[in-house]
């Protein structure tokens, strides 16, 4: 099967940049700007300086040329920030469009009742939760829902990119269908579960498109901090003329305005929403749909990851690894019995027994025509096997769980179970302790020995858990196995803890216990009985192949149904926060250099010795101020790729991450503008702009 991922949109794709450039101007609408207080302030100040410039033009003020350039660059600052947001939205839209293609307008076959024969064609958009629709081969399923009658194969490639049709049936854990997928065969009746515009694809589109984007909790907290800094600098700049007047300086209004804009955190303010949108966008590219930005942020905070053993930590199937005969039973004898009993067994375990037996003893297929009757596994006997009709009568070969075989042996001997051989118990325990599943083989009422079925740990999973540990995340393996087996597998896979003999209730209980201890828990699940746990977990990733109940309960849906993807989700969440933190630090650190550019420039006329503070040796007060404001605008553009890609994240302990980011964005933030402003000053002076 092939997994296709939405097309990776290059950072500077013309199809995105052009509309984004236009959108940057559209976003100058104050009603849009006000959502971003820092940029709103910048916009207001830009407008003010434009008015001043026009006034100066007519009145002939002293700094007309510089004032005009400053006003222009202030507008550029706002436009660049808008552009950053528009680019992020554009990339999000490209993703959303690929999602939206699944929502093409279709006619739905609405039915009145489950057993109704006729149907009434209605537009898909008119369907409400609770409506029943019939879907026949070739029909597009008109909305998210649950199969309530019938069984069908459904082509979900439109959403998942997976070409093989999947089975969807009423009841059970495979009942959920997604709007936009196509029925390949058979007829099903679907109960719609989402109102138009509320399906999770709709929600995801809203998240990446930005317009209706809800701010996430940390984004709100950060915005408050940025507003606070803006207010502080507003106070600083507003009070400065009074102190300057005492010192015998009149600061031109336009210079004050320039000072304000360079000080307030425009860099992070301008890129904040782009970072947020880009974070969602990265998630979509991993084929994960988040229902809220809050969930993505919470993913970065996860302390405990609950992972199902089967399919996540181990390959779905177990493999035979060893034959352990009882004393007085030959290796070959046991192997042959196991081989015969598994010949007709289509399960992966059965096949692996055949493979192992052949490899060891080179058995040939039994001659055609020999009378072998396959006894399939039944829930009642919990055994499978064969009856071989040979020369000396019918030979019964059975294999199954230890307790089932022991009961079978006792039954055949006509006694109560209990007196089973010590050696058998020892072998069974040895296998269990090693993390395997013991399968006991018996022939004609006599136990021959044990087949060691081994869980196969997925390659590379141990390293991934080590990575998670380094990130401070504890992994807990959830398994139905007994504690002995679970402990062995847990040790082999390198998880930190395990929950054995897990029931849905035990799982829920574990989540509650962890949360009570203040930890954030993530898990993934698919079945309906996972729904309570998915809802309880802080990050619940539902598999797209699961039930609608599970998909509704979780706050993310993985379209590829890959449980290991939780790890990527956590990393995306962390990267989102880190990008914000890094750019905030960078933005604030920048102010140091800007002060050294602007403060001497403002007061040099009154106090010539302040030239000592002009450490960059900028050519003139005007060029200093202009260079600072140009740097302030250009840095936004320069950082757009970083905002969209996110800062590099290599899993490591918090201390290592902090040291690295402080070094790069803190110290970098102090040094870069000194170089940048000086360079711009050289250019500005060379071009004679002042």
């Amino acid at each position: 099967m092939s997994i296709h991922r939405p097309r990776e949109v290059s950072l500077f794709d013309a199809s995105i940049l052009k509309p984004a450039a236009l959108a940057a101007f559209r976003k100058l609408d104050p009603r849009d700007l006000v959502r971003n207080p820092v940029m709103f302030t910048t916009g207001a100040v830009a407008a003010l300086s434009t008015v001043l410039f026009v006034h100066d033009l007519s009145a002939g003020g002293g700094h007309v040329a510089v004032a005009g350039q400053i006003a222009a660059w202030l507008w550029f600052t706002v436009l660049f920030a808008n552009f950053a947001e528009a680019v992020a939205e554009g990339r999000g839209k490209a993703q959303a469009d690929s999602l939206r293609r699944t929502k093409t307008e279709t006619l739905a076959k609405k039915v009145a009742a489950l057993d109704a024969t006729g149907h009434q064609p209605v537009p898909a958009t008119s369907l409400r939760a609770g409506d029943l629709v019939a879907c026949e081969p070739g029909d597009i399923i008109p909305g998210d829902g649950d199969v309530v009658a019938g069984i069908a194969t459904v082509d979900e490639s439109a959403i998942t990119g997976e070409s093989a049709p999947v089975i969807r049936e009423s009841g059970g854990d495979r009942s959920a269908v997604t709007g936009g997928t196509r029925v390949a065969s058979d007829r099903i009746v679907v109960r719609i579960t989402a109102n138009p515009g509320e399906s999770f694809i709709d929600r995801m589109i809203a998240l990446v498109e930005g317009a209706k984007r809800q701010k996430t909790p940390n984004e709100i907290a950060l915005t408050i901090l940025l507003v606070g800094l803006t207010l502080i600098f507003l106070i600083v700049v507003a009070s400065l003329p009074a102190f300057a007047a005492y010192s015998g300086t009149v600061i031109p209004m336009v210079f004050l305005v320039a000072l304000l804009v360079t000080l307030i955190p425009t860099t992070i303010g301008g890129l904040l929403s782009a970072i947020g949108i880009a974070g969602m966008d990265r998630l979509v590219r991993f084929n994960v749909i988040a229902k809220s930005g809050r969930a993505v942020e919470a993913a970065g905070d996860i302390d405990v990851l609950l992972l199902d053993k089967t399919g996540t930590i181990t390959l779905g199937a177990r493999q035979a690894a060893e034959f352990i005969p009882l004393p007085h039973v030959g290796d070959r004898e046991l192997a042959e019995a196991a081989f015969l009993s598994s010949l007709a067994d289509e399960t992966p375990e059965g096949k692996s027994i055949v493979t192992l037996a052949r490899a060891r003893f080179d058995f040939a297929d039994p001659a055609a025509g020999s009378a072998i009757t396959f006894i399939p596994f039944s829930a009642h006997t919990r055994m499978s096997g064969v009856d071989v009709d040979g020369a000396d009568g019918i030979t019964e070969i059975r294999k199954g769980a230890a307790d089932a075989i022991i009961r079978y042996v006792a039954d055949r001997a006509g006694r109560t179970p209990g007196g089973h051989p010590k050696e058998l118990v020892a072998s069974v325990e040895r296998v269990a302790k090693a993390g395997g599943t013991p399968l006991v083989v018996a022939r004609d009422g006599r136990a021959l020995g044990v087949v060691h079925l081994k869980d196969i740990i997925k390659p590379g999973i141990r390293e991934r858990f080590a990575t998670l540990r380094a990130m401070g995340i504890r992994t807990v393996m959830i398994t139905g196995d007994n504690p002995l087996t679970a402990a062995a597998i847990a040790a082999e896979a390198g998880v930190d803890d395990y929950l054995a003999e897990a029931t849905p209730e035990a799982k829920l209980e574990l989540i509650r216990k962890e949360q009570k201890g203040g930890r954030l828990v993530a898990m993934c699940g698919d079945g309906s009985n996972d729904a309570p746990a998915l809802a309880q977990a802080d990050v619940g990733v539902a598999m797209n192949t699961g039930t609608q109940a599970a998909r509704e309960a979780g706050n993310m849906v993985d379209l590829e149904s890959d449980p290991t993807k939780l790890i990527e989700i956590v990393m995306i969440g962390k990267q989102l926060l880190m990008s914000r933190g890094a750019l905030t630090t960078f933005s604030i650190a920048n102010d140091v250099a800007k002060y050294f550019a602007i403060i001497p420039a403002l007061f040099l006329a009154s106090y010539p010795p302040l030239q000592a503070l002009n450490v960059m040796r900028l050519a003139s007060p005007q060029s200093a101020i202009l260079s600072a404001i140009i740097f302030n605008a250009l840095i936004i553009i320069a950082l757009i790729p970083l905002a969209l890609k996110g800062v590099t994240y290599k899993p490591a302990s918090a201390e290592v991450l902090l040291r690295r980011n402080i070094l790069v964005y803190g110290f970098g933030g102090i040094v870069v503008p000194f170089i940048g402003i000086k360079a711009i000053d050289l250019v500005v002076t060379a071009l004679g702009l002042v």
Binding site: P217, G228, I232, V236, S239, L577, V592, L613
Partner: protein, 575 residues
């Protein structure tokens, strides 16, 4: 700088650290309600106070009730103090016959002492009666210090409690601070000071006939009992106008050393108490280290600037070299028995903590030497700071540092297991915003109003420094001054009063709100994904955040004040 000077500074740092650790342990026990070796003596007093005052010590308060009790108690105290000053002429213990304090000065002074600022627009020996000094100033020295300590204890409870509704009982926290900590320490220190020569009497002012035959009236009074709590409670309001430069407040080098240590002892001790109370002494140590580094840096700059002295005086051909027989340096406004090192050390310590007492006149410091105290206060009075208020102010900075650092490691920020979210950030930003608002708006106003300009004693950048210093000191609740400013005018009495009130209570209330908000949260156990807040990396980040916030806010005005004054002085320009 001399070797002897540096040695004294090192000795001082060692003494404060050595004293603060056991004191911190003792205070942690007091606030946790555990038995101490003084309990048998002091518990009965504590219980008696609860009984008489209708206080039910077992009743806990929601942060709003806690804040209400705090504000009510402080308001009552403020009104009583104002009343006492207004009617002191009719009350006993007034041998010098002081008249009623003028209304505007009484308002300023009452606010000043209620807010733990102890800014003095009056000269104690020529304005206040002994009774006012005792039942007014001395009492407020205790209660305002205890108020700050109570707020801190409530904030610490915010970190230690999980999903709790209450943050403690204000009255209990305040009474315990006074009875178990401040009062015993003050009594002990007062006797030490008398031994060293600080007067403690109710005598009339002494009229002496000097050797040359002149008459000298020597002010007296119950000085030692007030001096002790003035130092220990980070109050700083002197009995005399010259404060701890006055030989009666600070007679010897030994008394000076002990008084300086007393400035920092409780604020530093509380940092260790904090570590103990949150059950992680490393956290206390980290904050102590951050504060200590800022303090030592300040001392170094100030000492260096003062030791070099005033270049304008050097040009007159004076001998400013320091040696074993001469203090050298900039001795204007300094006392010989302290010399340069102890003066610079005191100036730095008193403004690092929100003490505000002085043993030398800061207005006459060199521009850079005088900028150090100013910057200490501008950083938010968190380098040890006031009793309680310093550390709770520091924790606000910690919240911001943790927030930024938390984002940088990709996790919702948390400190001591409490998640720092929008509400905490909002309240922390509020605390920090108050500061520039009070200083820069009122300071700026004074730069343009004739009433503001009239107060300056010096022209040029130094005049700006005087006014800037005044509002910084008031808003930071420090109380030290560039005392050339004529502050005893209706304009400055009222505006400085406003700055003090804003700087105190508009910070306390959001801080208590943070305490309430944190107390209601769960405690997240630390993991490798939580960055450690006890390591050097965090200490560095915290210092950077403090310097950047303070520096970015005040750099422009500092450039127009001390910085340009320094450059001009070096270039030989006088005003």
């Amino acid at each position: 700088m001399t070797a002897a000077g540096i040695l004294q500074i090192l000795l001082f740092c060692a003494a404060v650290t050595a004293g603060a650790i056991p004191l911190g342990a003792y205070m942690a026990r007091v606030y946790s309600g555990e038995r101490t070796w003084l309990s048998p003596l002091l518990r009965p007093v504590e219980r008696a106070i609860y009984k008489i005052c209708f206080i039910r010590p077992e009743t806990e308060q929601h942060w709003t009730a806690y804040a209400f009790a705090l504000l009510a108690f402080n308001l009552v105290g403020l009104l009583v103090l104002y009343a006492v000053m207004r009617v002191q002429a009719f009350l006993p213990f007034d041998p010098a016959g002081q008249s009623a304090v003028a209304p505007d000065l009484a308002w300023n002074t009452a606010v000043s002492f209620a807010t733990n600022t102890n800014w003095q627009n009056y000269a104690g020996e020529s304005t206040l009666s002994y009774l006012t000094q005792m039942v007014g100033m001395t009492v407020h020295n205790f209660t305002s210090a205890a108020t700050g300590m109570a707020v801190l204890v409530a904030l610490i409870r915010g970190f230690t409690r999980r999903q709790a509704r209450t943050v403690g009982n204000f009255y209990v926290d305040a009474v315990r601070s006074i009875i178990h900590i401040l009062l015993p320490a003050s009594a002990l220190m007062a006797l030490f000071l008398v031994w060293q020569g600080v007067p403690q009497n109710l005598d009339a002012y002494t009229a002496a006939t000097t050797l040359e035959g002149a008459t000298q009236v020597i002010a007296q009074g119950p000085v030692a009992s007030q001096e002790a709590i003035k130092m220990l409670g980070t109050n700083g309001g002197g009995f005399f106008n010259a404060n701890s430069a006055h030989p009666f407040e600070n007679p010897t080098a030994f008394s000076n050393f002990v008084e300086m240590a007393a400035i920092l002892l409780i604020p530093a001790g509380l940092v260790f108490s904090f570590g103990r109370m949150v059950a992680d002494t490393r956290q206390g140590r980290a904050l102590f280290l951050a504060m200590g580094i800022l303090l030592v840096a300040g001392i170094a700059v100030c000492y260096q600037a003062e030791a070099v002295g005033n270049p304008a005086l050097s040009r007159l051909g004076l001998d400013v070299t320091a040696g074993d027989n001469a203090p050298g340096g900039n001795m204007e406004g300094k006392e010989v028995r302290f010399g340069i090192a102890n003066s610079a050390l005191w100036a730095t310590a008193t403004t690092a903590a929100s003490n505000g007492s002085v043993n030398s006149m800061l207005d006459s410091y060199t521009p850079i030497g005088g900028m150090v105290p100013m910057v200490n206060m501008m950083l938010g009075e968190v380098v040890f700071g006031g009793t309680g208020s310093g550390l709770h102010g520091m924790i606000v900075f910690v919240i911001l540092a943790v927030f930024i650092a938390g984002l940088m490691v990709g996790r919702t920020p948390e400190y001591l297991g409490k998640k720092i979210e929008a509400r905490e950030v909002k309240l922390a930003v509020l605390c920090i915003l108050i500061f520039p608002l009070a200083i820069l708006s009122l300071g700026g106003l004074s730069m343009v109003l004739p009433a503001g300009l009239a107060g300056m004693s010096a022209p040029g950048p130094h005049g700006l420094s005087e006014v800037l210093y005044a509002f910084t000191s008031a808003a930071a609740n420090n109380g030290s001054a560039f005392a050339g400013l004529s502050g005893n005018t209706p304009y400055y009495n009222s505006t400085l009063g406003v700055a003090m009130l804003i700087g105190r209570f508009l910070v306390i209330v959001p801080t208590l709100a943070i305490a309430g908000s944190l107390a209601a949260k769960k405690i997240v156990p630390p993991s490798a994904g939580t960055f450690p807040t006890h390591g050097g990396l965090f200490v560095g980040l915290l210092i950077a955040v403090i310097l950047v916030v303070g520096g970015l806010t005040f750099f422009p005005v500092l450039a127009l004040g001390p910085i340009v004054e320094h450059l001009l002085l070096a270039a030989g320009t006088l005003f």
